[in-house]
C-alpha cells in the first residue's frame, strides 16, 4: 500500500505555513498604492433615506471619495443576483425584489450599506465614515418569522404581499391529511430552528484593483467559490466580462457557507476601484460580520408524524415558515426547499410526506446556507419528532427507529420526496454506535449522576443528508441558475512532478493533502511531488467551489478522471518507448509495463519523453502530459450517521453539560481518516452550539442583540467534551472514489441528539419540548413550570 495514498492518515501539508504564521489570508495581502474602504451602514432595520450628505466626510483628511447609492444608480450598476429560482404551486415565480449594492431610497436591515468612504488609510476611512450624515425616517419593522406574514404586519416590499417571497410544496397534501386523520397515533411538534450567525474566524476581506490601461479588474476576496463570485459580480452587477475579471482567494479562514456569496461589499469596492482606477482594500470588523455575513436557519415549524399501532410511520406532514431576511441572498430560496424537505424520509420508509414552506421577508440580515443548509433543519425536526413519538407510545426510541429503517437490500432507494438514496446499512451503523456509546451501561451512569445531584439524559439522532451538489440537469430542473460540476487539470511537469489545478477551494478542509493522496495513489508518484493549486480564476480551472460537502465527491472525482486520461495517454507514449502495442501496456504503481515481459518505464520517464519529445510518436500524438476533466455526478451521495448524546443537567442552575457524545458516521470510502474525524468533531460542536449556546436574536425594532462575541455564545473549549468517533464504510456507487461528503453531517446530526438528551433528562419534570438553544434559563424555567404542573 502507498503510505500516503488513499486511506492513510497523512499529516496535512498545508499545516507548516499555518503553524508558523506564514498563512496568506486576504487581510495579509497588501498591494502597492492600496486605498482603504470603510462602509457607512444603516443603524435602522427599516427606514426611508431622506438624505445622505457626504460633504463633511469628503473634506476629511486623506479621503479620496465618498460614494452613495445615487452614484451606484448613476453608473447603471446592477443589483445583487439570486442563483436559484423557486416556482410556486400555482406556477408563478417567487418574488425577487431588487437589492442595490448600496441603498438608494430605503434601508431594510441593520447593517445595510448606505455609503462607502475611500481613503488613504484604514483609520482615515473609518474616521470619515463617522462624518457622513444620513437622515433616516424610520418605519415599523418586521422581525419575527412566525408573524411576518400576518395581516397586520408592516409590508417590506410592495410586490410581496404578506411579506411572502414564495410558497413551495412537495408531496400530495390530501392523502397525507387522510393518513394523519386515521392513524392509530399521531405525534405533533411545534418548534423553532434558531437563527445562527456563521462566524468563520477570519472576517471577510477584499482588495479590488483595476488597471485602466488593460481594463483588467482583480479581486482578492475571502471566497469559497471564486469562480461563482466572478460570474455573479461580473455578469450581473458590474458588467465586467469574465475574461477581464480575475478573482483570487488565497488562504481562507473558514467559511461554513458564509463565504460562498458575492457580497455587496465586494461589488462596491470593485465598482469603486474601476471608477477611480485604484486599488481598494476592505476588511470586515467582527461587528460588521455579525450584521452582514449571511445568517443561517431561522425556521418556525409545525409537524405531524402518523404511525400505525406498531409504530410504523405512515405519513409525515410539515408546515414551515422560513425567514429570508430583507433581501434574497444568492442561494437563499434553495435552502428551505430542495435542501430541506427532500430529507424528510430520513433513514426511514415513511411512505407519504407532504411539506409546505412559506418563505417570508423580514427586516433582518439575509439568511442563506450555513453548514448543512436546510438539512440540519430537516434532521432536527424529524429526529425530534421520532424521539417524542417513541416516548409517547412507550417504545424505546432505538427500537422505533429500527422498525422503520430502510433495509440494506433496498438500495438504490427512491424516497417519496424526490431523492434516490445510494447505499447504506442504517441498522449496522446504529448498532455500532450503541455499542461504542455503551448504552448498556447508561443506567449505571445515570445513577451515578443522580447521586451527584445531577439529572442525566440520553438522546439519539440518526441523520442522513444529500451531499455532492449536484447532478446539473436535475438541479436545473429544480431552479438552479448554474451548472454544478467540478473540474480538474492534472499537469505533469517535465521532471516528473505534478501540479493539480482544482476548481474547488479549500478553506480548512485539507484539499492540498487529500487531493494529493488521490493523485499519489492513482498515478504511483510520491506524495511530496504533487502540488494542489486552487483559488485563482486566472491560474487554474473553471470551477464551482467548495460548499455542500461536494469537494471530494465531485472535485476529487474530476481529479480521478483526469488521472485516467493521463494513464491512457501515458500508455501510448510508453508503448512507443518500449516498442510495444498500446493495448499490451499495463499501468500499476507508477510503472507502465508490457504484459508478459519485464519491460517497464516509470511515469516520470513518460512525462519527460512527452515534454522532450526526441523519441516520441509525434505523427500520432501531441507532446505534453496534461489532462483536464470535468465531473458532473449522476446523483447526489447520502452520508449518514448515528449519534448518541448524554447530558448532565444541574437542577439548581439549569446548566447543561454534554458529558458523552458518540458518533458513528458513514461517509463511504475514506481518503484520510484524520481529516474525516476533524470534520465530524467540528460539525458536531457547531451543532452543540446551536442546541445549547448560539442564537441570533433581534429585538422588535430589528436591532441585532447578539451582535458580538460578548453576546452571541460561540462554543468554547470548556463547553464541549472530547468525542468518541468511529465509522462504517458503505461506498457510494455514483462516483469513482466511492466517497460521500463529510463536512456537514456533524452539524446536521448533533442538535437533535443534544436536545433529545436534554428533554430526556428533564422528563421527570414532565418536560416534552424545549427550544434551542437550551440555555440554563430555558432549562431552569422548563423545570419550574414542570414542577408547578406536577404540583397542581
Amino acid at each position: 500500500m502507498n503510505e500516503k495514498g488513499i486511506g492513510a492518515a497523512v499529516r496535512r501539508v498545508e499545516d507548516q505555513r499555518f503553524i508558523t504564521g506564514a498563512g496568506n489570508y486576504v487581510d495579509d495581502v497588501n498591494l502597492p498604492g492600496q486605498l482603504f474602504a470603510a462602509f457607512v451602514r444603516s443603524p435602522h432595520a427599516h427606514a426611508d433615506l431622506a438624505s445622505v450628505s457626504t460633504t463633511a466626510a469628503a473634506a476629511a483628511p486623506g479621503v479620496r471619495a465618498v460614494l452613495t447609492g445615487a452614484d451606484v444608480a448613476a453608473d447603471g450598476v446592477g443589483g445583487m443576483p439570486v442563483g436559484w429560482g423557486i416556482t410556486q404551486p400555482d406556477g408563478s415565480p417567487m418574488i425577487e425584489p431588487p437589492w442595490p449594492i448600496i441603498a438608494t431610497d430605503r434601508v431594510r436591515f441593520v447593517g445595510e450599506l448606505v455609503a462607502v468612504v475611500i481613503a488613504d488609510s484604514r483609520n482615515a476611512a473609518m474616521d470619515a465614515a463617522e462624518l457622513v450624515e444620513v437622515d433616516y425616517a424610520s418605519l415599523p419593522a418586521v422581525v419575527a418569522t412566525a408573524t411576518a406574514a400576518a395581516d397586520d404586519a408592516p409590508q417590506i416590499w410592495d410586490e410581496a404581499p404578506g411579506n411572502t417571497c414564495f410558497v413551495w410544496e412537495i408531496g400530495e397534501s390530501a392523502p397525507v391529511d387522510e393518513a394523519v386523520s386515521q392513524a392509530a397515533h399521531v405525534t405533533r411538534v411545534e418548534l423553532v430552528n434558531n437563527r445562527l450567525i456563521p462566524n468563520a474566524m477570519e472576517p471577510r476581506s477584499a482588495i479590488a484593483s483595476f488597471a485602466p490601461a488593460t481594463g483588467d479588474l482583480t479581486l482578492h476576496c475571502t471566497a469559497q467559490a471564486p469562480h461563482a463570485v466572478r460570474l455573479l459580480i461580473g455578469a450581473f452587477v458590474l458588467q465586467q466580462p469574465e475574461h477581464k475579471f480575475r478573482v483570487i482567494s488565497p488562504d481562507v479562514g473558514g467559511g461554513f457557507g458564509s463565504k460562498i456569496y458575492p457580497y455587496a461589499e465586494y461589488a462596491v469596492i470593485c465598482w469603486a476601484a474601476r471608477r477611480m482606477g485604484a486599488t481598494i482594500k476592505w476588511t470586515a470588523t467582527r461587528s460588521e460580520a455579525f450584521v452582514s455575513d449571511a445568517h443561517g436557519r431561522d425556521h418556525v415549524t409545525t409537524a405531524d408524524l402518523a404511525m400505525d399501532a406498531d409504530g410504523r410511520f405512515l405519513a409525515f406532514r410539515v408546515h414551515t415558515t422560513a425567514n429570508m431576511g430583507a433581501y434574497l441572498s444568492a442561494f437563499a430560496p434553495l435552502i428551505p426547499t430542495y435542501l430541506y424537505a427532500t430529507l424528510f424520509a430520513g433513514q426511514y420508509t415513511t411512505p407519504q410526506i407532504f411539506c409546505q414552506v412559506r418563505a417570508v421577508f423580514t427586516n433582518t440580515t439575509p439568511v442563506d446556507a450555513y453548514r448543512g443548509a436546510g438539512r440540519p433543519e430537516a434532521t432536527y425536526l424529524l429526529e425530534r419528532i421520532i424521539e417524542k413519538a417513541a416516548y409517547e407510545i412507550g417504545l424505546d426510541p432505538v427500537e422505533l427507529r429500527r422498525r422503520n429503517f430502510i433495509a440494506p437490500d433496498a438500495f438504490p432507494y427512491q424516497t417519496p420526496v424526490a431523492l434516490l438514496y445510494d447505499s447504506g446499512d442504517y441498522a449496522k451503523t446504529m448498532d455500532k454506535a450503541l455499542e461504542a456509546a455503551d448504552v448498556a451501561g447508561y443506567a449505571a451512569r445515570k445513577a451515578s449522576s443522580q447521586s451527584a445531584g445531577k439529572l442525566r439524559g440520553i438522546g439519539y439522532s440518526l441523520p442522513i443528508e444529500a451531499t455532492g451538489a449536484a447532478p446539473s440537469a436535475i438541479a436545473g430542473q429544480l431552479g438552479a441558475r448554474a451548472g454544478l460540476w467540478e473540474s480538474a487539470e492534472l499537469r505533469f511537469n517535465a521532471t516528473g512532478s505534478v501540479t493539480v489545478f482544482s476548481g474547488a477551494h479549500s478553506h480548512g478542509q485539507g484539499h492540498a493533502t487529500t487531493f494529493a493522496q488521490i493523485v499519489s495513489d492513482k498515478l504511483g508518484i510520491p506524495f511530496e511531488n504533487i502540488e494542489i493549486v486552487e483559488g485563482d480564476t486566472a491560474n487554474g480551472q473553471m470551477g464551482m467551489g467548495t460548499f455542500g460537502s461536494r469537494s471530494l465527491s465531485v472535485g476529487g472525482s474530476a481529479i480521478v478522471k483526469a488521472a485516467d486520461k493521463i494513464i491512457d495517454k501515458g500508455k501510448k507514449i510508453a508503448a512507443h518507448l518500449m516498442e510495444a502495442a498500446a493495448e499490451d501496456i499495463e499501468f500499476e504503481d507508477g510503472n507502465f509495463t508490457v504484459a508478459g515481459s519485464d519491460k517497464a518505464v516509470n511515469i516520470a520517464e513518460v512525462a519527460f519523453a512527452a515534454y522532450v519529445p526526441h523519441n516520441y510518436p509525434l505523427e500520432e500524438l501531441e507532446p505534453g502530459l496534461s489532462e483536464q476533466a470535468f465531473f458532473d455526478p449522476m446523483n447526489f451521495n447520502f452520508p449518514y450517521a448515528a449519534y448518541v448524546c448524554e447530558v448532565e443537567v444541574d437542577p439548581r442552575t439549569g446548566i447543561t453539560d454534554v458529558v458523552k457524545f458518540t458518533c458513528v458516521d458513514d461517509v463511504g470510502n475514506i481518503i484520510n481518516p484524520l481529516i474525516v474525524d476533524g470534520q465530524v468533531h467540528g460539525g458536531v460542536v457547531q451543532g452543540i452550539g446551536q442546541a445549547l449556546l448560539e442564537n441570533g436574536v433581534y429585538d422588535n425594532e430589528g436591532q441585532l442583540l447578539s451582535g458580538s462575541f460578548m453576546d452571541y455564545t460561540m462554543p468554547r473549549a470548556d463547553n464541549v467534551p472530547s468525542f468518541l468517533t468511529d465509522v462504517t464504510e458503505t461506498p457510494c456507487p455514483f462516483n469513482p472514489l466511492g466517497v460521500k461528503g463529510c463536512g456537514e453531517i456533524g452539524a446536521i446530526g448533533s442538535p437533535p441528539a443534544v436536545i433529545n438528551a436534554v428533554i430526556n433528562a428533564l422528563s421527570p419534570f414532565g418536560v416534552t419540548d424545549i427550544e434551542m438553544p437550551a440555555t440554563p434559563e430555558r432549562v431552569w424555567s422548563a423545570m419550574q413550570s414542570g414542577q408547578a404542573e406536577a404540583a397542581e
Binding site: D251, G678, V685
Partner: protein, 154 residues
C-alpha cells in the same frame, strides 16, 4: 510617536499613531501577519502574542504600551528551521483546519504550559476560554496541547 521593542529576539522601532494597537503595528507596520484579528471585543484570541513571556491579546494593548518590552509572535516561536514542540504537536494531531485561530492557540498554549507543565484535559479546556476555534471542535486542539506539553517536559 516612536516605539522601540525587542521583537522575536531582534530590536526594532516603528513610527506609529498613538492609537495604534499592538496587533496593528505588528501586522500593518512591521509586516508580521501571522498574528490575526478575529474580533473587536477581545474574545477570540486569534491575536495572542507573548509580551515579556506572558500571553497577551495584542488587540487589547496599545503598541506604545509594549515600548521596551520583549515581544514574541508566532513567527518567532520556531527555533530556526526547527518547530517548537507545540507547533509540531498541532500538526501531528490535526489540531487546525482553516488555520486562522492557530497562531493564537499555539501562543496561548505555550504560555499555559509555562505555568502548568502537565495540564489535565479540564485545565486545558478552561485555559482556552479566551481562544475561539470554529473549525476543529477543540477535540484535537486539547489533544495537541497535552501532547505538546509532554514534549516540552521532555
Amino acid at each position: 510617536m516612536n516605539v522601540s521593542l525587542t521583537l522575536n529576539g531582534a530590536p526594532i522601532s516603528a513610527e506609529i499613531e498613538e492609537r495604534t494597537l499592538l496587533v496593528q503595528m505588528l501586522r500593518d507596520d512591521l509586516g508580521l501577519t501571522g498574528t490575526h484579528v478575529g474580533c473587536d471585543t477581545s474574545q477570540c484570541g486569534a491575536c495572542v502574542v507573548h509580551v515579556n513571556g506572558e500571553s497577551v491579546k495584542s488587540c487589547t494593548m496599545l503598541a506604545w504600551q509594549a515600548d521596551g518590552a520583549e515581544v514574541t509572535t508566532i513567527e518567532g516561536l520556531a527555533n530556526g528551521g526547527e518547530l517548537h514542540s507545540m507547533q509540531a504537536a498541532f500538526r501531528e494531531h490535526h489540531a487546525l483546519q482553516c488555520g486562522f485561530c492557530t497562531p493564537g492557540m499555539i501562543m496561548s498554549a505555550v504560555d499555559l504550559v509555562s505555568q502548568n507543565a502537565d495540564p489535565s484535559e479540564d485545565e486545558v479546556r478552561a485555559w482556552l476560554e479566551g481562544n475561539i476555534c470554529r473549525c476543529t471542535g477543540y477535540h484535537n486542539i486539547v489533544k495537541a496541547i497535552r501532547a505538546g506539553a509532554a514534549a516540552m517536559r521532555g
